[in-house]
Every structure is written in C-alpha cells, then in structure tokens.
Symmetry: C2
Subunit: 247 residues, 2 copies
C-alpha cells in the first residue's frame, strides 16, 4: 500500500506572544506543515513582531485559520495529539515521549489530518482540553527548569514527526480506525444527558466523573464503528427516557 | 563501568540576535547544559531583550564565557560536533543526522567535555571552521525553506542529545580515544610548516590543500596516540630541515 503524505496541522490554543506565533509560522514552513490553526489568539498575530520572526513562513500566518474553540479547530482531524508541559505533572495524566508517539503515528497507512494541540505559554492545556486528544506527549527536560518556550516545544515535535515520516519501513503498516476526537466529543453530549437523566451524574459533578469515561474511550482505541454502536444505544435510551410517561 | 554525566557545552559563533542568545540560555537551562560559550558575540548578550527570552536561564548568560576564537572556545573539549545549516550543501561536506551523532556520542563510556558549535544566523560556519569538529550534523528540513532559526536548531539538538544520554544501555560502551580538535589543530601548524618548507604546499594555496588532510584525520578516528606519533615525525623532520646546512 502506498503511504500518503501526512497532513499535519499545528493548533495553538490562546497563544499570547507574537514572537512565538511568528517563530512557529517559520517552523511550519521549515517542516512542511499543512496548516497553522489558532484558537482564540490573545495577541496580534499579524503584528510586525510576528512577521519579523516568521520570515518566509509568514504565509502560514496569512493563511492561518482562527477558531473560537478547540472543538472547531480539530473538526476535520482523524487523529489529535496534545502536548503537555505543565510542571504539576499529576499522576492522572498518561504521557508518552515524542519519539514513541511519532513512531506510533507512522505505523498507520493513512492519516488524513493530524492535529497537534499546543497550550498557552503560561498554563498549557487544561485537563478538560487534554480530553480532545487521542494521546498526550511530554518532552523530557531538566527537573530544575522544565518549562520550554512554546516555539521550542513545537520545533522538537515537528522535528520528531518529520523524522519518523521519512523513516517508515513499509511493512507492518496498520489502518487507522480510531473514532475521531470530534466523534467522541459529540457522543458525550448525549451520554451526559442520559447519565444525568438517569441519576448517575449530578449536574455539578458531571464533568469530573465523565472525564474518566472519556479517558477510557480515548485509551481503549475505540473505533468509529464502536463509537457508533455506543451512540446508537445511548440515543435509544435517551429517546425512551424522553418519551416514556412514567417517572 | 559507571557512565559519567556528559558535560555538554553550547558554543555560539558570532551570534547577532539577542533574542536568540536569550532563548538559547533558556534552552541550556531546560536541558542541563554545562556552559554557554560565545565566540565574538555580534550583539549585546546582556541586553534586556536577551534577558526577557532567557527567563530562569539567565544565569547561563551571567556565567557565559566569551572567547576570541573557536580554538580557544573548545580548548578543553575532547569531542567537538559542528552544526551545518547552510543551504549550499556542497557534496564535499559529510553530514550525519542528530540522532545518529547522538547515538554515537552515547556509545562512549566517558566524554569529559563535549562542545557543540553553532554558526552565525545568516551564514553558519565556514568550511575552515567546520574542520574543528570531529563530526558535522545537519537537521533535515523542508527543501522549500530549510533555514531553521538558530535557537530552534539548538533546541532540536539538545533534545536529541538529552534523549540518548538517558537512554543508554550500558553494554557495548567504548572508550573515547580520539585526538581532540585542539591537538589536531596544533599539529597542523607544524605539518603546514614542514609541507611548505619541503615545497609540497605553496603559501597561498596551503589552506585548501591542507584542509583535505585535516578532514582525513578527523574522519579516520585518529587517536591521541596516533596524533602524537605523527607529531613526533613532523617535529623531527622540521628539526632536520632547520638544522641541515645543505640546500
């Protein structure tokens, strides 16, 4: 099977440094990224500062797509990876190395659109935002000063993905059949509705309880077919609950 | 044999961007570099711009060692690696990937001081400057826009070296026994003298002819012992030439 070129999309969430955005645009050009996408930028991405850092990569800023939510920014991605750089590495978050994730990605015959989520300069991505990702990666750095500048994290990850994509031995390629983050996210609207209605969840604690189930589905390599079966069940239960007259 | 921690020194040659120098100081801190060394800086490395980018890495600028020549900057390095990012990739220069060089470095039981040379933002290192290095590395980037920002090249290389240093399987470690760049460089002063005296080299073309021989010695994995034998021979010939009275 001939391997298709990977469409890699860099998704920045609320970046606040124009130098960073400019530097990242240059990196997009250095590593032949497909698109730069930005969720609610907190700085002027078209400023002179950004332009100076972007140099020939400025076309990525010119053509940049801006979104109001992560959900919209990854709407067409069949695979989503998030980066985790916060220092309060809670034991609850399972991270893998850029190298391992990169090898895993290159083990698939075809991925149409890959989205790599990068969080804010100061606080990264929230735990809830991390739930948009199939996998989470973390770059090992010094314990004394682990915090990488955003653009340097981007450079390392693009370098690692670029390395693997050139390095693929054609044998043992698998077909990617994971439910997209968007599918999982949408299913959860209905699942939540059902669990609240049936009293499993209380509205004010729904979020933390349901995130465990989301993590499970992301980790369980849930396929598109699996998620559709699940949605069918949930949809039917919700229909029943809405239409049955008794309590 | 217990592996010693690698003393990694980042050597910048004539950097002209304070933002880059600041960013690189932060990276030195992120990856536990030993020292930041700068050869003839072309900007104010203590400026506010540099400080803003360095953040907690500023102590690397505070403690930075400044030199007038590459020779002095690598005086105590037993292994020197140069980075090559120029676009006019002449066929004459043999480059390896950061990954391969990093694995090679981690195959030695002990390296006291490793120096990584990074060239100028606009033109990198000259061919003569590359001759200070035992090996030359190049980061694969887009053919359309290969030129990485200096600090991003540093980030990728420090990441890759850091990865290998943690990753070492203790078996098969070799003892580093290469003549240092400094030893080779110094030997060549005498070799050149001899070859000019004996008419093999003409003064105005000596440099290009001799650089082939330098490349050979660097590539040939010449040991400290080998280079001392060579120096002994050359020294004796020079003595003889200076002291024989006949033509």
């Amino acid at each position: 099977m001939k391997k298709k070129r990977l469409n890699l999309n860099v998704v920045l969430v609320e970046p606040n440094g124009p130098l960073n955005v400019g530097s990242i645009a240059r990196l997009c050009s250095n590593f032949d990224v497909n698109e730069l996408r930005i969720v609610s930028p907190k700085c002027d991405i078209f400023s002179l500062e950004a332009k100076k850092m972007a140099l020939k990569g400025y076309r990525y800023i010119d053509n940049c797509k801006i979104f109001n939510s992560i959900e919209q920014a990854i709407f067409d991605c069949d695979l989503v990876i998030a980066t985790f750089g916060r220092i309060d590495l809670s034991n609850d978050i399972e991270c893998e190395s850029p190298e391992d994730i990169s090898k895993w990605i290159s083990s698939f015959v075809e991925i149409n659109n890959l989205g790599i989520l990068f969080g804010r300069e100061d606080r990264g991505l929230s735990n809830n935002e991390l739930l948009f990702a199939h996998k989470i990666l973390n770059i090992k750095t010094s314990q004394n000063y682990p915090s990488l500048n955003l653009s340097h994290a981007v450079s390392i990850i693009l370098y690692e993905l670029n390395k693997s994509s050139k390095n693929n031995d054609k044998k043992d390629l698998q077909v990617l059949d994971l439910a997209s983050s968007k599918q999982i996210y949408e299913s959860f609207k209905e699942i939540e509705e059902m669990l609240i209605k049936t009293g499993y969840l209380l509205e004010h604690t729904a979020n933390s309880k349901i995130s465990k189930f989301k993590k499970f589905l992301l980790k369980a390599k849930t396929s598109s077919h699996d998620i559709n079966v699940l949605r069918g069940i949930v949809h039917q239960i919700n229909w029943f609950l809405n239409n049955s007259k008794g309590k």
